[in-house]
């Protein structure tokens, strides 16, 4: 299968290898939540809702020095083409929940909110590859919206390696090609990687290229998220008036 057309250099959907899908972020989509956001990467659409910091529900988990961060990832039944019933606590969701929790926890200044709990709920509305990345980006937006202090913006993007070419932001078709899929989460300004996952094998020389590409993708997403946040802050401040 030619995932990159050797003659035109375009991918199946018309992107160049180093191009990301169209991204879009929207803040404040869940009225009840303290913070919420919708994030789209192409056809992948994810909604994030953040509750808290609030009283710890299960007193046994309460920590005196820091906040408890919880995360729940789920996929809507209608998120994929075949409309299969998605069980909630399956292995994959549990794993992704854990990964996202750890990634977000690395950025949240949990010590500022002791004895409290922060819940992050992520729901995939439409899945087309890169749900993990989209979830992390949505969670970042939602956390910022909830006014939860963070070290830096966490953004995530994936990259793969198909047809001897590093590809940015794989969609479902490319993802199912069975090639390596590197998902990276970064603290952009701090230049730190908080998440790095890969399926399949990749030689180390290629890996650095692919990783670099994914990091570039993260930077681009961070710029966009920054813009969205600033725009939102500006709107809130202006509406509130002095």
């Amino acid at each position: 299968m030619e995932y990159v057309n050797p003659l035109t250099g375009f991918r199946l959907d018309g992107r160049r290898p180093n191009e990301m899908r169209q991204i879009r972020g929207e803040i404040g989509v869940v009225a009840k939540a303290d913070g919420s956001a919708l994030f789209e990467m192409g056809n992948t659409k994810v909604i994030a809702a953040v509750y808290g910091p609030r009283e710890v529900q299960n007193k046994g988990q309460q920590m005196d020095g820091q906040a408890l961060v919880r995360c729940e990832y789920s996929m809507a039944n209608f998120s994929t083409g075949d409309r299969a019933r998605k069980s909630k606590g399956d292995r994959r969701s549990t794993e992704i929940s854990l990964v996202i929790r750890q990634t977000m926890e690395a950025s949240i200044l949990t010590h500022l909110m002791p004895r409290s709990q922060i819940d992050i709920f992520l729901q995939v509305l439409q899945a087309d590859g890169g749900t993990r990345s989209a979830c992390i980006n949505a969670a970042t937006l939602a956390l910022a919206d909830a006014g939860i202090p963070m070290r830096d913006l966490v953004t995530s993007c994936s990259a793969g390696y198909l047809c001897s070419t590093p590809l940015l932001d794989l969609n479902y078709v490319e993802d199912s090609a069975g090639g390596p899929d590197v998902t990276v989460g970064t603290l952009v300004k701090m230049d730190k990687v908080t998440l790095l996952q890969m399926d399949a094998k990749l030689p180390i020389e290629m890996f650095t290229d692919v990783l670099q590409l994914a990091i570039e993708g993260c930077k681009a997403i961070a710029n966009y998220i920054q813009e969205v946040l600033l725009e939102n802050t500006k709107k809130l401040e202006c509406m509130r008036g002095s």
Partner: protein, 935 residues
Amino acid sequence: MLQSKSFVKKTKQGRVVKVVREHYLRDDIYCGSVICKVCDTSSARLSSAASAILIIDTNVVLHQIDLLENPAINNVVVLSVVLEEVRNKNMAVYNRIKALCTNAMKNFFVFSNEHHRDTYVKEMVGESPNDRNDRAIRVAAHWYQSHLGGSTQILLITNDRENKKKAIEEGLSAETVESYVRSLEQPNLLDLVVIPTSLDVVKEEFDDPRPSKRKVIYHEHKPMSEITSGLLHRIYHQGKLRVNRYNPFEGYVGSESIGDEIVIYGRVNMNRAFDGDIVAVELLPQDQWTEKSLIVVDDDEDEEDDVHLVPSSVDDAPSNANVAKAFAGSAPTVSSRPIGRVIGIIKRNWSSYCGSLEPMPLPASNGGVAHALFISKDRRIPKIRIQTRQIGNLVDKRIIVAVDSWDCSSKYPFGHYVRTIGKIGDRETESEVVLIENDINSRPFSTQVLACLPPLPWSLSSDDLANPHREDLRHLRVFSVDPPGCKDIDDALHCTPFANGNFEVGVHIADVTNFVHPGTPLDEEAAQRGTSVYLVEKRIDMLPKPLTEDICSLRSDVERLAFSVIWEMTPNAEIISTRYTKSIIKSCAALSYVEAQARMDDSRMIDPLTTDLRNLNTLAKIMRQRRIERGALTLASAEVKFQIDTETHDPLDIGMYQIREANQMIEEFMLAGNVSVAEKILRHFPLCSLLRRHPIPTKEMLEPLLCTAAAVGLDLDISSSKTLADSLDHAVGDDPYFNKLIRILATRCMTQAVYFSSGDLTPAEFHHYGLAAPLYTHFTSPIRRYADVIVHRLLAAALEIAKLPPIFLDGPRLTEIADNLNYRHRNAQMASRASVELHTLIYFRNRPMDTEARIVKMKANGFIVFVPKFGIEGPVYLTSKGDKGTDWTVDEAHQRVTNTSTNVSYCALQTVKIHLEVVEPQPHRPKLELTLINM
């Protein structure tokens, strides 16, 4: 700009799934014309010199690819929609158009119309995909027209009448292929134009030479929907048709659904399928499962066996397991094998074929359109009907012809002339035919490939010396032994005795991977060629000459880089330790087998080199003995050797290749080296090592051997390679050649060894039957085999000298490489054989002679003889053709043919005297004929 593509798809499990895919439309796709002022012209390919820019539609690419490849056709825009359609319909054509688009000599430009903002076309309601694509092509043509603003003419080339009409209505210029080619005023080009047989072509252009015969000859193919449902319900069976190389009226379809081969007899049952086509087959009722393979009276073509070289393995020989059974009676017997007929073709395997025109009287008016029948060299291919305007030119030429269509009312398929190779019978022409037939690339290396070579003259650099991974072994007494005149010396040896009586034995192999780096054009070219090809009069190299003959070749008295395997061995040839290293060596002597043998045999010579040779020979004999005890087969082949006139390249003499002890000595150490390397790489890379295996022959494959052996009262035990080897050892007849003959017969029953990736099979399947080795690979000839290059890289990675190239991690890709190597290897062998056959024919052209031959197989009207002196095999007819009422009866069980009236009888393995002569039954068709000299 974003467009969503959404469609509904049915999955394999039968569930219906809606698929939504993004489709980005861009504004940064350039038109590719040099003269364009708006676009970035850095990658432009369309020149300003040509009068028009051509835009072609899918069918033009699919059917007229031979025309497009002609240098006269230039400045073509290939739209991505066209490319995509071509890929879906015919992968072979797709690869060719792809090559055209990247060819620097041709100005073919790919325009991504599907992703361009202005040329993307959305499917309209009720529009068929075909109409939509045609519209997309027209829209793109329009875009070009307005984009380039009339500075160049945009010409849409289509054979679709409707499309052309619409295009002209929309204000585009459009032409059919034929009218465009006519406008170029190069009459010879017209031969390349495929005349479409579809309905929208004017009928009068199509005049069948025999209108009265325009009746349905073949069954209509079943529609695809019916085939699919038939396959699903197991009424039909799908498989690849393989036509018997020696009997084009017999084909086999390996079917997974019934787990057996379905035999197909006759052209009517084959129903226009070609060798290699994927077909759907329907089984005939069981009572019609009759054998008709012996005497084929299906057709008016005279098909008979030619004299040919002795097959060296079962892959080269006709699949004739059933032939022996059919000897029992002259009446057709009911076969146990399913027999079927083709009812539809799922995927065509048409390509172009090499051959000549059937001799025919020249038409009176020269220059007009003439119809001719083309006969392929490959006998599996039926005759092909072509149209030409240059019949006078082509009659005595070897030409290439491509197939276009095969109508069910036509006896033969229609095709078109592609190009001329040369005069029939000409040695150069025929050699080229051999290369083309075996898909061997004999073109000179491209400049990109040559650019990868190190600067010449090459010599050892200080960097090489300083390399910590490279051991300096220049002090060792290294030497090589090869056939005389060998220039590509892959391997060299050394043997140093230790004080404790042990020996240090080293095998030094040219370090090709030091010069051929993965991913370079040089590497890709070598991977594609796969192997060097040895023809009688020339060699087609895998690597460019400077590498093959100089830089890599381990010539004497020069410092060369090598990859060494060094053992410590006891005098009993037990390996105590093995070590692998990159090295620098300086060979002290490049001996030929004859020289080496002479040195060893001459007891007066006691110089160190000769002593080394003798030591090695002693070790090799022990190793060989041990190997044979393990069950390795000593097989024999009937290789022949030509003496070639250096001026004319014509063969002067011909004879069997003599195998000496020196040959066996070198072979033994090469085998040992290969085995050691195979063990090493497999230990490090259990999933991606390239190994070589030799499957255990099945009982059916050995059937002909057993049959012949039984006829002469020999009992062979084939339960394992060990027992077979022992039985072969005991098969001693009354004459010295008997044993060798049996071995030759045994060899031809084996399949060939094949390369494979260790990740694809289980360790039990790694076994090499012929060598009785659990693991084997090729390491010792990297100059002439690409497999060895791969193994060198694996070994270097295993030693952590170099990193493993990423390609090894791509399982399917590795399998693809192994398959290609097998294909190339086999083709190279076939080409060598064909070359020998060709030279045999040339040799006998002026030298009719009488010689001795051995009968190897009985036929209904004669027998097949083997001529040991020349290594050839061919039929001897006891009765003349067409004479059905014979006095000869065949006794299958005893492989004996007896004349009932004269009581003369012949039996298998018997020696007979025959006469060899080249005859020319038809002009330009010389062939070697064997006739029995009555004693």
